[in-house]
């Protein structure tokens, strides 16, 4: 709690040209704290490392009020320290890999537990900040060996959107039906990332308007990959509810 509040003050102060030396030093200590708990391979270039650490500084600064029940179950209350702890329990190190695709941003390679691999696209592609983070949290969920890495389910056949049109790969145009690009459960990588995004959109007390709109846009699109009607219905109801954080 203390660290997040302090980080906010520092962020505000740092906008002014006459910010104090003390603020810089404390900011560095906070950044070092994030860095200390995550190991970066030597191949991670400074630009990528800096972006990841800055994105984690943002996520650590989040403060919320209400929390949905599903969010409480997966992450605890809407709070930066919970998000950071959740991640640190799953991911110990970061490497660099092209993840087998020119469009990949990040991936998990099962033979390397507790590690995520980032592609240079993390900084190259122009995703909004909360979208970048949702990729990281999506992949972090995939590190859970005890849950079979939350492998994706095959999309249903046929796989159609809300307007009744076939869902196709945006890259290849191929139908996604029958491909392992969906989830049945609310607790897999798509589901947990959707829960994360929707709660930030609705319950983050110190997020900018843009972050909240972004989180809702990306959360809504992610929800489309949850194909089980009961899971989807439960998630939609959960996002509409107001549960006070414990």
């Amino acid at each position: 709690m203390f660290c997040g509040a302090l980080a906010r003050v520092i962020q505000e102060r740092a906008m002014k040209p006459n910010f104090s030396i003390v603020a810089i030093l404390v900011s560095l200590i906070l950044a070092s704290a994030s860095q200390a708990s995550l190991r970066f391979d030597a191949e991670v270039v400074p630009e990528l490392k800096k972006q990841i650490l800055e994105d984690f500084q943002f996520i650590q600064s989040i403060r919320g009020g209400n929390t949905s029940a599903l969010h409480q179950k997966v992450f605890g209350s809407v709070d930066g320290s919970n998000y950071f702890d959740w991640f640190n329990k799953r991911v110990f190190s970061v490497g660099v890999d092209d993840c087998g695709s020119p469009t990949a941003v990040a991936c998990v390679i099962v033979m390397y537990p507790n590690k995520i691999w980032m592609s240079p696209n993390y900084t190259k592609f122009s995703h909004p900040q909360i979208a970048r983070l949702s990729v990281i949290y999506h992949e972090a969920r995939h590190t859970e060996e005890e849950n079979g890495n939350w492998s994706h389910a095959n999309c249903p056949v046929p796989f159609r959107d809300a307007r009744g049109k076939d869902v196709r790969s945006i890259w290849t145009g191929a139908l996604l039906e029958g491909r392992p690009a969906c989830d049945v459960t609310a607790f897999g990588s798509y589901g947990s990332a959707t829960i994360f995004l929707k709660n930030i959109s609705k319950n983050c007390a110190n997020c900018s308007d843009k972050v909240k709109v972004d989180a809702d846009l990306y959360g809504t699109d992610q929800l489309n990959r949850i194909t089980d009607p009961v899971s989807r219905k439960n998630m939609i109801a959960d996002f509409a509810s107001k549960v006070i954080a414990i």
Binding site: G100, T103, V105, I130
Partner: protein, 237 residues
């Protein structure tokens, strides 16, 4: 005593090293002129320049004031930092003057199409003004132009479909897809908010509905689908 002095020296030295590292990693870019922040030649589909259909000073030729210039500087810093949660976004970048918004629209056209988040941020700022009842017809025309852009095909190069995409990548396509259409989705979101919040004058409301209607002819299928959905919701009410 010597030990204490030694510790103090080490602490001071560590502080100086950290300080130096901080300045090396965070060189401020505060005085960079706006025109050098963006590429003058967008690599692919350049948007139609915003037209100057004016209502209530929407296309004002009034010069930028000190506050406008400060806002431009702040926006450039935010885009450069990639920190969407910069508190100045809400504190300083609202209640925008017409000369500033004119500059924003011109800035959008200068931002390379692949900078989806930067372009979407400009759309967000204009859209929020409309939703909060401070929009002009020039702002609406800008949002219409954005909706009529050709779809961005790849985050690397909007004009080309990516090649060599592995099948495993399909599992993160949803995020890529949202980013490909990000300026348009932000645009549609704020048009929808504007209709829902009821802060529009009858004339502006009609103009928003007309934009959504024309978006049904967009070359971007995602825009067509979402405009349809928004109009459907709007007609239900």
């Amino acid at each position: 005593m010597k030990l204490l002095k030694g510790i103090a020296f080490v602490v001071l030295l560590a502080g100086l090293v950290l300080l130096g590292r901080h300045f090396l990693l965070n060189i401020p870019k505060t005085d960079t002129p706006l025109t050098t922040q963006v590429s003058p030649t967008p690599s692919s589909p350049a948007p139609t320049p915003a037209s100057e259909m004016v209502e209530a000073g929407g296309g004002s030729d009034a010069p930028l004031q000190a506050r406008d210039r400060e806002q431009i500087r702040v926006l450039d810093e935010i885009l450069e930092s990639k920190n969407d949660n910069d508190p100045r976004m809400d504190r300083l970048l609202r209640d925008l003057s017409e000369p500033f918004k004119k500059e924003l629209r011109a800035k959008y056209a200068r931002i390379p199409a692949e900078k989806r988040n930067d372009r979407g941020t400009v759309v967000f700022l204009v859209g929020r003004e409309i939703a909060e009842g401070r929009g002009s017809t020039a702002d609406l025309q800008f949002l219409k132009d954005v909706l009529m852009e050709k779809p961005c095909l790849s985050l690397e190069d909007c004009s080309k479909s990516p090649s060599g995409v592995g099948p495993d990548e399909q599992h993160l396509e949803a995020i890529h897809e949202t980013t490909l259409h990000y300026p348009q989705l932000m645009d549609l979101r704020y048009l929808k908010i504007a209709l829902e919040q009821g802060s529009l004058s009858p004339v502006m409301r009609e103009a928003v509905l007309a934009i959504l209607e024309s978006a049904r002819q967009s070359p971007n299928p995602r825009v067509v689908a979402d405009a349809d959905a928004t109009l459907g919701t709007s007609n239900d009410k």
